[in-house]
C-alpha cells in the first residue's frame, strides 16, 4: 500500500519530469492553492511557467472538530500549473493517475462540467471536476481571467484532492485512517489540529479582534498599492509581493469571520468586494512591473 507521502512524492516526480518546478507550500494561510503567488501572479503576463506544489488549504467553515470522516478544516491540494497548457494535457493528467497506481482500464473516469470561479480573486476559468468511480478527485481548469485580467497564455490548472485520492487508493472510509507514512496515520498527524482549529474558528475567535486585523491588513495592502508608481524608474524593487501577502491575510480572516457567523449575507458581498479590489490592484500592478523588468533586461 502506498502511503499518503509516497503518493505525493510520485505526483511531484511525475510533474517534475514534465518540466514543472517543484515548489514548497506557501507560508501564508490560503483557502486554495490557486491563491498562492505561484499561481495567482505567475499566470499573469507573457512568461511561460510550469510549477507544482502541495498547498495546505484552509476552509474554516468546513471544520468538523475532527469528527467527520470526510470533512477537514485544512486539506492538502496538489496544485499544478502548466502555462501555456500543452495540447495533450488531458492525456498527461490521466497518465499521472496511472503513475500513482490507478489502472484506468479498471476504473471509471468522467469529466463533468464545472467552471471554477473565485470572486475574491477576480478569477475564473472553464473546466471539469474529474470523477473517479463517483468520487471527485481533481478540479481541472483552463484559466480565462485572473485578477480581472484576461489571460493570453491560457494556463491549465490541475488541483488534486490528496486526502481523497489517498483514501481512494488505500480503500479507507475515514480520512483519519489513511496511512501518512508507514505506521503513522493521518489522524496521528493532524487530528489535534482539526479539533483545535474548529474550536477556535467556531467558538473562540474574537470577532472584534479579527475585524481589527482585517482592517489593518487591508489598510497596509491599500497603502502599498497607492504608493506604487508605474512610471518610477525604480518600480521593479517595489514590494508588491508583500502587499499581496496582506491581501491573503484579509482573505483568510474573511473566511474565519464567516465561519464564526460574523458576516451577514448582505455584508458578505461588500467584504468580498473589498478583498477583490485589492487582489485586482496587485494583479494589475504586478503585470505592469513585469513588463518593464523585461524591457530593462532586453
Amino acid at each position: 500500500m502506498q502511503s499518503f507521502q509516497e503518493i505525493i512524492f510520485k505526483l511531484k516526480q511525475y510533474w517534475a519530469d514534465r518540466g514543472c518546478i517543484i515548489q514548497e507550500p506557501y507560508d501564508v494561510e490560503v483557502g486554495a492553492g490557486t491563491m498562492c503567488p505561484e499561481t495567482f501572479l505567475r499566470v499573469l503576463g507573457p512568461q511561460p511557467y510550469r510549477v507544482a506544489y502541495v498547498q495546505p488549504s484552509r476552509r474554516p467553515a468546513d471544520g468538523r472538530y475532527g469528527d467527520n470522516p470526510n470533512r477537514l478544516y485544512k486539506h492538502s491540494q496538489l496544485q499544478v500549473i502548466l502555462k501555456p497548457s500543452p495540447d495533450d494535457i488531458m492525456e498527461q493528467y490521466l497518465a499521472s493517475l496511472e503513475a500513482i497506481g490507478i489502472d484506468l482500464r479498471k476504473h471509471d473516469i468522467k469529466f463533468e462540467e464545472d467552471n471554477w470561479e473565485a470572486p475574491t480573486l477576480g478569477a475564473w476559468g472553464i473546466g471539469w471536476q474529474v470523477m473517479l468511480d463517483g468520487l471527485e478527485v481533481t478540479q481541472f481548469t483552463y484559466f480565462q481571467q485572473c485578477g480581472g485580467i484576461d489571460l493570453d497564455l491560457v494556463p491549465a490548472e490541475l488541483t488534486y484532492g490528496l486526502e481523497r485520492l489517498t483514501a481512494f487508493l488505500q480503500v479507507k472510509d475515514s480520512v483519519y485512517d489513511i496511512e501518512w507514512a508507514k505506521g503513522v496515520s493521518y489522524g496521528d498527524v493532524r487530528h489535534r489540529e482539526e479539533l483545535q482549529y474548529s474550536v477556535y474558528n467556531f467558538e473562540m475567535a474574537n470577532i472584534p479582534t479579527l475585524w481589527k486585523l482585517f482592517d489593518l491588513h487591508e489598510g497596509e495592502a491599500a497603502r502599498l498599492l497607492a504608493a506604487y508608481a508605474p512610471k518610477s524608474a525604480e518600480k521593479s524593487r517595489f514590494p508588491l509581493l508583500p502587499a499581496y501577502d496582506h491581501v491573503l491575510k484579509c482573505s483568510n480572516l474573511f473566511n474565519t469571520l464567516d465561519s464564526r457567523g460574523a458576516i451577514s449575507v448582505t455584508e458578505r458581498v461588500g467584504v468580498i468586494q473589498r478583498v477583490r479590489k485589492l487582489a485586482v490592484g496587485v494583479a494589475q500592478a504586478w503585470l505592469d512591473q513585469q513588463l518593464v523588468q523585461r524591457e530593462v533586461a532586453a
Binding site: 488531458m90 476504473h107 473516469i109 469529466f111 463517483g134 491560457v154 472510509d173
Partner: protein
Amino acid sequence: MSLPFLFEIGVEEIPDWMIPDALENLRLLFEKLEIPYESVTLDATPRRLVLRAEGLPARQADSQERVLGPAKSAPPQAVEGFARKQGVKPQDLAIETTPKGDYYSFIRNVPGRLTKDILAEALPGIVLQIYFPKTMYWTGKSGPRFIRPIRWIVALLGEEIVPFELAGVRSGALTSGHRRLGAKEIAVTPADYVERLRHHYVILSAEERRNRIREGLAGVRVKPDPALLETLVYLTEFPTPIVGSFDPQFLELPEEVLVTVMRHHQKYFSVEDAQGKLAPQFATVMNIDADPEGFIRRGNERVLRARFNDARFFWETDQKKKLADRLPDLAHVTFQAKLGSYRDKTKRIMALVKELGGKPLAVRAARLCKCDLSTELVKEFTELQGVVGGLYARAQGERPEVWQAIYDHYKPESMEDAIPRHLAGRQVSLADKLDTLRGCFRVGLIPTGSRDPFGLRRAAQGVVRILVEGKIAVPLLDLLEGNPQLAAFFEDRVKFYFKDHRGFKYDEVNAAMAAGWSNLVDLEARLMRIRTLRPTPDFEPLAASFKRIHNILVQAGFTGGGAIDQSLLEPGPELELYEEFIGIAGQPIESVISKLRPKVDLFFDKVLVNAPDATIRQNRLTLLHTLLAEFSTMADFSEIVTNS
C-alpha cells in the same frame, strides 16, 4: 458523381446538456451552405460533434454569366479586345439591346466550383458559429472561441480530405477512440467510420447508447428519470450500467434526501422494490465496458456511504432545534438587500395568507415555511428547501395541513411540476411568490430579456397556475399593489399560460382577456365557453358582425349613453333585431346565438346605420352599442380573427 461527406469535430469533454442544441445548430449551418445532398445525419458523444451527409456532388452545377462588352458603335479594336479577353472571335459575340443602346455581349460558361473547395472555405466558419451558452479561448485571447479546446478534425469528402486549419488543428482523416479503451489515432473513411469507432469503444449513436443503458438495467426496478438518462447518454462514449447497494439502515432517512444525494450529487438512478418503495440499491452508468473485479461498484458504494453519512449527520443535528425556534435566526438571513431578511419576508407572507382567506393552519405553515433555511441539510442540499422544512415539521408533530403546506410551498417549480396539494399550501405558495414579485417590482428588480435572476417569470407563472388550477377566485389585480408594470407583467404570463400551456388560440385569449382577466378562474370558464362555441356555424359570422359593430362605433366616435327610443325604430329588420334582443337579454350567448345571428345579418343587409337623420342615426348606434355591451362581458368578440 455523388460523394459521402464526413465531418467530425474532436473536442475535450463538452458539457452533456449543451450537445443536442449544438448538433441542431450544426445542421442548420450546414444546410445554409446550399450544397445539395441526399441525406444528413448528426451524432455526438462528449468528445465529438459529427455530421455525415450522403450524395454530395463533386462539383457544383455550371452556370452561365452574361458579360456586356463595348457598344455596337465602338471601334473594331475595342470589339476585338473584348472578344480576345473572353477567348472567342468577334463573330461569336452577340448583340444585345439595352435601354442605353446596343452592345456586344457574350454568354460565358462559369464552371461550378469543387464542393471540396466550398467546404474547405466554409467549415472553419461553421464550427465557430455553433452556438454554446458559454465559450472559452485556449490559443490566446484573440484566438477562436469554442465550448472546449478542439483537438482534432476529420473532414472527408469521399476519400479525399477537405483541407483547412482551425485553432492550429489541421483537418485530416484521423479520429480518436475512447480515452482509455481505444487508440488515440485511427484512420477512417466515411464508409468505415462508425464501425472503426465502435471497434475503439465509441458508440456514436446516442440512441444506441440510450438503449445500451436501458438493456443493461433490464430486470432492475429503476425509478424512471428521462432527464438523468439523457445526461448519462451524453456523458459517456461507451456506457455500461452497474448496480450497487447501500446499508438498509440509511432508509431511515427521508426518501427525498436519499434520492437527491443519488440523483443530483452522484448522477445515480434510484431503485425501487416490488412495492414501489425505495430499495437499498442504486444504478450508475460507467464510461467503460465492464467492471469485472467490482472496483468501480465498490468505489461508488463507498462514495455514497460517505455522502449518506453526511446527510444523516445533518438530519440528526438539525433535529436538535425545532423549526419554530429557528424563526429568530431568519433575521440574519437576507432575502434581498432592499427587501430585508427572511424574518421580514415571513411576516409579509403571513399577512398575505390571511388576506387570501387562509385559516389558522395555513398561517401557521406560513410562519414556519422559511425556517429550514437555517438548517444544515438545506445549506448542503439547497434544492431541498421547503421539502426539508416539511419533513422536519412532520417529524416535530405539526398537523398534516401544516407540514404539507411547508413541503409544497415552492411548487410549482416548472410548467410540468404539480401545484401544492392542498389549499393551505396553495395559499402559502401564492403569498410567497406574490411577495417576491411585489417587492422586486417595487425596488426596480424587473426582469429584462433573458435576465431574470430572481426567477420572477417562473414565480408569476406559478401564481397563475395555482389560481387557475387551484380554482382560487380572488381578483389578482387587487393583489398587485396597483403597480402597472407588475400588472402588465402578469398579463403576459396569463396570456402565455392559456396560449402555450393550455392551447387556446391567441385571438380567443385576447378576446376573453379584453373582457377582464383579474379573476383567472372566471377567465378560464369564459375561455372554455369560447372554445365550445367556436366550431358552431353561427359563431364566426356573429363574431364578424360584432367586429363590424365595433368598427362602426369607433368610426362614429360613439361611446354609449342614452336609451333606445323604441318609437324611432324602423319596422322590419331593425325592430325585429331589437325585439329579439329584448327577448334574449340576460341569457348566455350559447343558447341565443342561433336566433340572434340571422337578425343581425338581416339588419346589416337592409338597414343603413348612417341614416341621414341624426336622431335616427344616434338611436341605431345606441341599439348596436347596447347589443355589443350585452355580449361583451364574456369576451370582446371583435378580437376574434375570422375568415369572412
